[in-house]
Amino acid sequence: MNNAARQYIDLLQKNRALFDEHAAPVLNALRDEALAALKQNGLPDKSREEFLHTDVSQFFAPDYGVNAARVNRVNNPQEIFRCDVPDLKSRLFLFAGDTLCPTPKPRQLPQGVIACSLREAALAHPDLVARHYGRAARLDDGTTALNTALAQDGFFLYVPQNTTIEEPLQLVNIMHGKQDFMAVRRLLIVLEAGAQVRLLSCDHTLDKGKFLVSQVAEIFVGENAVFDYYDLEESTLETRRVSSAFIHQAAGSNVLVNGITLHNGCTRNNYYVSLDGEGAETRLCGMAVADKRQVIDNYTFIDHRAPQCTSNELFKYVLDDMATGVFNGRILVRQGAQKTSAMQTNRNLCSTKEAHIYTQPQLEIYADDVKCSHGATVGQLDNNALFYMRSRGIPEAEARTLLRVAFTHDVIDMVRIEELKERLRQLVEKRFRGTLDKCAGCRICQ
């Protein structure tokens, strides 16, 4: 076991009572098992195939502060609030690190919907939470084991049968403060049969300190339910983020996951999608725009367990300066999962010599009546297209920006929230023009 894991194990063992006191029994019940798993596996480093190019244990190595006593760090939530999607009518939840802040004038949600902090839900509906909490997360991954061992709070969403929430739900997660800080956040989302929800989660960092976000989302999508999950990150070079989403899909369900990294430090995103019921459909896409020394590592695992499921994967990277991009996409088609259709595409633009891309698509297929394909490319902007534009009077820099924006468009087009789509287009364009850092609400450049 590596030293990085040791400090958290010690921390938990010494302060166990404090952790338990400020969490709910349902969450406390899993601590021992998670701790044992963490002791056994440690935090993943490059010796593990899935983490070949990013030493995630190093993310955890510094001594961050953990808010085990749940001290309220925010007096006025409005002060730190920041949202980059204007005109978006959404039901908003604001997280300061790992604590859900009370929202003024919350919008009404349909009857039966539970949307609150995980701790609150675990105390009010212990059976419901216990039925799902920890059922999807895989403890063999050290980062998830650590999250489970330390988790005290997070967000809980329950949508009853055949209920549609029209307005998107938005989680705004803000990392701020003068001290280095580690946020341990847990999302538990349960959609009963026929429910429909769109969830937008935005991670922002406001201050210059060293921050680490450890997030585990467990998402259960019932029969014929429709769920959109937009996972946006816009943070700083000093921010480390390890996020895992475990998604279980019942028959006929439809899930869209879109992970967009516009600015970050070092990020590792895991997306595990398990297609458990017949006819389930998944669209998993992602995009990363990285420069400087940013590292963005996306790991996806789509597990086709049932027949007639469809999965469609599209990931695009634009890398500049000394940025590193990693894409590891695994598709497993189990025996009996006949009539599966699984497509995966990964396209990458490298703009400098120092920018590195590691891409590793994997197909593991144990059924014969399937259509599976993957394609991966690494290349540059099309010289012919550049020439064409320049011959029509568009300056080279402008032409490059246009082509890069166009390159990312098909990932943005997957978004099913119009306002967000529009805003993302603008943000990406700003990003390519190098003006994104100066956006409203950011305290860093002021």
Binding site: Y358, Q360, D369
Partner: protein
């Protein structure tokens, strides 16, 4: 391996999902009952040393072969390093534990003296070759291929040696090369695959028994295709041959390697090393048709084929091309690779891997782009049937200095039953912004429309499947030299007999 367990459980639940086409059921039945065509044992007196591996054995092998001191040193260093290593387990293979102490590391056909002409060769041995369809006489008279037949590790007879000698081409067994051209061997041995490279390379470097050595001098275009036939004959012996091919400036050679093994109960280990070195503007084409014994229907017996093959495009404008047709072996685990060090050098890899019954294959290639304007092409076709597992694993690495590198990779898998598996694990590490790298992979079963179309025109399903599979593999088969292409095509059909025509 936990994936396997999970898989088994789903298999239990879903095993009744029937293949709708009744004919393919029948066809699969026929496949599984088809026998290994090359399963016969030749009674030749062999000189086998006792099983086990220790420093004494390494010294004994070296002594039996009358090797110079430096080669013994090389072996001992390799053995010392091997002892520090553990067998790797990352491959998508289910490998039973191998007891390295239960293997005999040397088996040579007993011979008083080396043969002077064909008449000196043991008639038994010659009839073995005849059964294999590579009678030396025929080969010499008709096809003009120079054959270096390696049977259980010691080269028996190399044909056409004199004719090649006129051009300065050296084509002989490795032991002869050690005796006759020690400087060349010493210079290049281990220069592409170091004994520190991996577990099996270290093992081979310690105990290799024989193999082939080829040297093509400057500016020579080798007039004939050089061919070696490997065959594992004695039970419980591992075959550890070593091939070293050096193509000097502006030379060209095409090298063929064919492998078969008789039917045996115990698994036999085959851990070979092939090293290729291409100098300025040299071109080497290396073709393999591998048909070691794959084990019976239940997966008993068969060869473990764990081979390290690597080519170094040392000079500018050099080219190395690997073509392989893998139909045999219980477990195939190899990645013929190219290190493209010279500017404008080219690497190619064409592969057809067929697995049936309980066979397992984890094979592919590595293309390491180091020089500028280097190009590589990878075409891999996997066909899995029965309960077999077939994986493609490949690496394309473009280093920061390899400006304008270009790679194209295509790997397709064809599935012929609902119990088999086809997997692709490509790795792309790109560290240069001028690189253009493309990868495509598809997995599917045979298109029913195509079969229907053939049926409609009076072609039986069996024949139709044969046609489709042959068409599917054509791209690779076309890269084989003529003499081999015919044999490879036959092999493809025998391996999948019934199911694919």
């Amino acid at each position: 391996m936990d994936m396997k367990k999970e898989n088994d459980s789903t298999h239990k639940i879903l095993s009744d999902s029937q293949n709708d086409a009744g004919t393919s059921e029948k066809i699969i039945q026929e496949v599984t009952s088809s026998d290994y065509k090359y399963g016969f044992v030749t009674d030749i007196e062999t000189d086998i040393i006792p099983t086990g591996l220790n420093e004494e054995v390494v010294r004994l092998i070296s002594e039996k072969k009358g090797e110079p001191e430096w080669l013994l040193d090389f072996r001992l260093k390799a053995f010392a390093h091997w002892k520090t290593l553990e067998m790797p387990h990352w491959a998508h293979l289910d490998i039973p534990d191998i007891d390295y102490q239960a293997i005999s590391y040397y088996a040579a056909p007993k011979k008083k003296e080396s043969p002077k002409s064909l008449d000196d060769i043991d008639p038994e041995l010659r009839s073995t070759f005849n059964k294999l369809g590579i009678s030396l006489e025929e080969q010499m008279k008709l096809s003009g291929i120079a054959v270096d037949a390696v049977m259980d590790s010691v080269s028996v007879k190399t044909t056409f040696k004199e004719k090649l000698a006129e051009l300065g081409v050296i084509f002989c067994s490795f032991s002869e090369a050690v005796k006759d051209y020690p400087d060349l061997v010493r210079q290049y041995l281990g220069s592409v695959v170091s004994y520190r490279d991996n577990f099996f390379a270290a093992l081979n470097s310690a105990v290799f028994s024989d193999g082939s050595f080829v040297y093509i001098p400057k500016g020579v275009r080798c007039p004939m295709e050089l061919s070696t036939y490997f065959r594992i004959n004695a039970a419980n012996t591992g075959q550890f041959e070593r091939t070293l091919i050096v193509a000097d400036d502006d030379s060209y050679v095409s090298y063929l390697e064919g492998c078969t093994a008789p039917m045996r109960d115990e698994n036999q280990l085959h851990a070979a090393i092939v090293e290729i070195r291409a100098h300025e503007r040299a071109e080497v084409k290396y073709s393999t048709v591998q048909n070691w014994y794959p084990g019976d229907k239940e997966g008993r017996g068969g060869i473990y084929n764990f081979v390290t093959k690597r080519g170094l495009c040392k000079g500018d404008h050099s080219k190395i091309s690997w073509t392989q047709v893998e139909t045999g072996s219980a477990i195939t685990w190899k990645y013929p690779s190219c290190i493209l060090a010279g500017d404008n050098s080219t690497g190619e890899f064409y592969s057809v891997a067929v697995t049936n019954n309980r066979q397992q294959a984890d094979t592919g290639t590595k293309m390491i782009h180091l020089g500028k304007n280097t190009r590589s092409t990878i075409v891999s076709k996997g066909i899995s049937a029965g309960y077999s597992q077939n994986s493609y694993r490949g690496l394309v690495r473009v280093s920061p200095d390899a400006d304008n590198a270009r790679n194209y990779t295509q790997c397709d898998s064809l599935l012929l039953s609902d119990h088999c598996g086809a997997h692709t694990f490509p790795y792309m590490d790109i560290k240069n912004d001028t690189a253009v790298v493309e990868h495509e992979a598809t997995t599917s079963k045979i298109n029913e429309d195509q079969i229907f179309y053939c049926n409609q025109r009076g072609i039986s399903t069996e024949e139709a499947v044969g046609l489709i599979v042959n068409g599917y593999a054509k791209e690779v088969m076309n890269k084989l030299p003529m003499e081999f292409a015919v044999e490879a095509q036959k092999l493809l059909q025998i391996t999948l007999e019934g199911s694919v025509g």
